[in-house]
Amino acid sequence: MMRHFSAPRPTARTLAVWQRNFLVWRKLAIPSVLGNLADPMIYMLGFGYGVGALLPKNVDLFGGVSYIAFLAGGSLCAAAMNSATFEALYSGFSRMHVQKTWDAIMNAPVSLDDVMLGEMLWAASKATLSGVAILVVVWLLGLSSSWLSLGLIPLVLLVGLAFAGLGLIMTALAPSYDFFMYYFTLFITPMTLLSGVFFPLEQLPAAMQAVAQLLPLTHAVALARPLLLGALPQDALLHLAALAGFALAGFWIALGLARRRLLT
């Protein structure tokens, strides 16, 4: 049992696994990017302009910016989260369990450690792509004009890594695709509502604020929003460490579970 959770030992072959997924994606790149963009954009524009128009104009609710500008940073993180999560869950499960792609790869001199890290980096790459696509739209809409907003590019990569790590835990445990519904309804969706994407965290009761501090998306939003609006985030190191911790712990646990499942 403990042996499965020994330290990960990936090698450069990880890159070949990443490249495999990249090559598949490249065949369907344009519909894939549009699909990744559509959902978060509808949320951001729908809520931003729709709800934003209902808010009182003479009260400063969001630190001197419009609701849509407030919403942009959180939406971007949520999009990166969803993108990494879908890739790690559904696509990862297809490759692991349905198509047996991982089995084929492991017959070559590539270890499960390489496969899992390649999958994680790939899911994070897709998250980065989604995040950057939205960032471009945000710039084009004039919602952000600060150089600090460039910091969102490495940030969405880190967000992608964190949620890829967590998602791969689910994949390593899943008996079938249906299992992922629980992850979405019990974790991802509530988190999206509790992490300060749609409204300032301070609106929540103290107990729920405390819970929110345990959620990875909270830390992502706490970094993304100020960067997008041109301010340096408070407690930046703490938030970065939290996200990196989720990424590392997620990967380690997911790898251990996958070793237990596949290397028997």
Binding site: A16, A104, A108, P109, R259, L263, T264
Partner: protein
């Protein structure tokens, strides 16, 4: 060579358990360079588990394995650099074309796209897939997929090939083509380890074979030596009616007088004899009984060693 130094695969006292169930119980064998070695056994005998252990993919097991000169599992990755694997289930990449499957698989061995492209025409020619480079996987027949899986296993020019039931599910034409290619691979000097439950496959291809059952090797040798060692030279299969009842009554009462061994399976009595003439003379006087007289084969050995009960 006291330790058989050059042998591409040496397995010594391999044991592997899943929970409380020990599925491999002290298996030892050695495959010489250039040899085709077959592992036979009923479903659940432990063949696939043994293969997974040899490739370093089965987690903790006890015993000693050396593959292409590397200790497994410690140096399994280095060993797999020199090995090609044809798995039981096709796991070609459905998102890619035929040529892309080879290209992507080559990368797992650290081969550049240019290196794989240079090898692709010869691999496709070997697999009888010329002109299919750009074909999507979904458009291939079962036999073509199997051949592409074989070509994929050769992308790294391996010295050792592991084939887990390479012809299961194929039609006779497709099986013969695979057999032809496997023979060519042996002629090229490669070493083959295959599992199968087709006795004719093992008899045609294998220089030596081992019969596995319940996690143990219960017989080992060349197909001819196995037949000579374990069963009588000839078999007479008797079926039909005898004195108003089935063939089992005849087997019970009369077969013993003519055959060293007689086994009834369904409606047929299998009589194992070294000299069939007395039995055939007897059968000539029994108009209700019909028979088939043939030389003993590997299937007779297999059934003698593993029994006739159904395995699921």
């Amino acid at each position: 060579m006291p330790d058989g130094g050059d042998a591409p695969l040496v397995v010594a006292d391999l044991k592997k358990r899943y929970g409380r169930q020990e599925v491999v119980r002290g298996v030892s064998f050695r495959i010489a360079r250039g040899e085709c070695f077959a592992l036979l056994g009923p479903n659940g005998a432990g063949k696939t588990t043994t293969l997974r252990c040899c490739l370093g993919l089965a987690g903790a097991a006890s015993g000693h394995i050396s593959l292409c000169g590397f200790e497994v599992p410690a140096a399994a990755r280095a060993a797999r650099m020199r090995v090609g694997v044809v798995p039981q289930m096709d796991n070609l990449d459905p998102d890619f074309t035929v040529a892309e499957n080879l290209l992507v698989f080559g990368r797992y061995f650290g081969l550049s796209a240019a290196e794989v492209r240079a090898r692709t025409p010869a691999l496709l020619e070997f697999a009888g897939l010329e002109g299919k480079a750009a074909a999507p996987i979904q458009s291939l027949s079962g036999g073509m997929k199997r051949r592409l899986t074989l070509a994929r296993a050769l992308v790294n020019d391996p010295e050792f090939l592991v084939l887990d039931e390479p012809t299961t599910g194929l039609d006779p034409q497709a099986r013969h083509l695979i057999w032809d290619r496997l023979k060519r691979l042996v002629q090229q000097g490669r070493t083959l380890l295959l599992t199968t439950h087709f006795m004719d496959e093992a008899e045609r291809l294998a220089d030596r074979l081992a019969v596995m059952d319940h996690g143990r090797i219960i017989g080992e040798g060349s197909p001819r030596a196995m037949i000579a060692q374990h069963v009588e030279a000839q078999v007479v299969e008797v079926y039909g009616e005898w004195n108003g009842s089935g063939v089992s009554a005849w087997a019970e009462q009369r077969a013993g007088a003519f055959a060293a061994r007689a086994e009834v399976s369904g409606e047929t009595a299998f009589c194992y004899v070294n000299d069939a003439r007395p039995l055939l003379a007897h059968l000539a006087g029994e108009p209700g009984l019909r028979y088939l007289h043939r030389p003993a084969n590997l299937e007779d050995v297999f059934l003698k060693l593993t029994g006739r009960e159904l395995r699921d």
